[in-house]
Symmetry: C2
Subunit: 231 residues, 2 copies
DNA sequence: TAAATTATTGTCCAAATTACAATAATTAGA
DNA sequence: TCTAATTATTGTAATTTGGACAATAATTTA
């Protein structure tokens, strides 16, 4: 096991591909780049890069995110690893897909050195992408939905204090369907939230109460095995 | 993107680690090997191997399985990828974990060239393993449970025709808890099964009816988005 | 033919889900 | 200040699901 012979394996490389999901105009979108170089020059692709030799996988994913968006402190979540021998025309490149959910309006996208153009593209209107990126994108969207239902990753994207409607809208966006307000509130009643006295500001109607995720209570519940996150 | 410079990346290698889950004596066990070489010589470890340059990931995982057990035609499922820069003392090795559920009594384990000993070890009594293998094992067990609940992978392991009790026992084994027979049958009532006239043979009591998974009906239901597998 | 054993189905009650209605709090404007 | 408009929040009733447990059915063994 692990009979490392570098001569046999030196033609391999690892990359991360980062699927950044966002929401605007009623649609789920992914941030894509237009490739500025061969192969697949001028085709749209998922942003990604090779992983540096001394770099952790998640760190590489966050670096790609930062180069494109300037955003820091956004947790990237691992989805799946894709490694068909011929998926990259220039050599063996095994790629690990990561994803994050972003609020599109929170930042301005910058074209990076390896991208000619950058754009939010609706999942419903996806062109043919470079490499096996259509496959990676759809698998990762499925993983996003699975993780949203089984891990509290929704709180990565919500502001520290949020309204229950914002909470609901996040799920509506990810699953691309509307939920009943009253029923949604019943569904989340076992997720530990802290209700604050503070209220929503600058709205033209009754302001909603602000909540935050009770990380401590959640961790304790998980620790003691008397709770599993389920949506 | 994908600026491949082999000089920068040649010290990397990929491996697969294969977690083979089995059940006997009322316990969930994983097949472990005793390492016959450095590093971590004589420590127990998850079986794994480097991925050959022209080999698909899943193919590599199935090769490791075959070398250990002689078993073919068992689907391996991808779990997660682990790649901390220093997880392998001899170089950068990113490892992709795969798992399968096996019936322990169906085969005889053979020690392979890279293993001094092979043994089924209960998850409840797990020693310190080589590398980050304790972490990989527990993450992969969680992934097994998640996938069992969200994808029809249970039918990989069940015989083509199975009794409802065998079906139930598989879940009892994976989740390490007993379920009520009547209630389990209600729960699976939306999973498309074909009921055969055939019955269980050679049992000392009323034989159970045999069922098989209706793959066609399942695929159609998924295709049309009018169904999601949920347990 | 009866006892033993397990398969299969049914029942009752509690809990969760769904659809929808009612009430509360706030803003904007008359 | 008062009222309409708007959204937040809570409630209710019907339906569906889930859990505990009982009843019945089909076999084998003696």
């Amino acid at each position: 096991m692990y009979r490392i012979d570098f001569n046999d394996f030196f033609t391999s490389a690892f990359s991360v591909d980062c699927i950044l999901f966002g929401y605007s105009e009623g649609e789920i979108k992914a941030l894509l780049i237009k490739r500025a170089m061969q192969p697949f020059e001028n085709l749209w692709a998922i942003p990604g890069d090779l992983i540096y030799p001394d770099e952790d996988l998640e760190q590489a994913a966050e670096r790609v995110l930062f180069e494109l968006t300037g955003l820091n402190n956004i947790a990237m979540h691992q989805s799946q690893t894709f490694g068909k021998p011929n998926r990259h025309p220039q050599g063996r490149v095994i790629t690990i897909s990561y994803f994050a959910l972003l609020r599109i309006e929170d930042f301005e996208v910058k074209a990076s050195s390896w991208a000619g153009d950058v754009q939010w593209v609706s999942l419903k209107n996806m062109p043919d992408l470079a490499f096996d990126h259509n496959h990676i994108l759809s698998s990762t969207y499925e993983m996003l939905k699975l993780k949203l239902q089984n891990e509290p990753i929704c709180f990565d994207i919500l502001p520290e204090r949020f309204t229950l409607n914002e909470f609901q809208q996040l799920f509506e966006f990810a699953f691309d369907q509307a939920f009943d307000k009253a029923n949604f509130r019943k569904k989340i009643k076992n997720i530990p939230l802290i209700a604050h006295d503070e209220k929503q500001q600058n709205v033209k109607h009754r302001p909603a109460k602000l909540f935050s995720f009770d990380m401590m209570a959640y961790a304790e519940g998980i620790e003691q095995n008397r709770y599993t996150f389920k949506m």
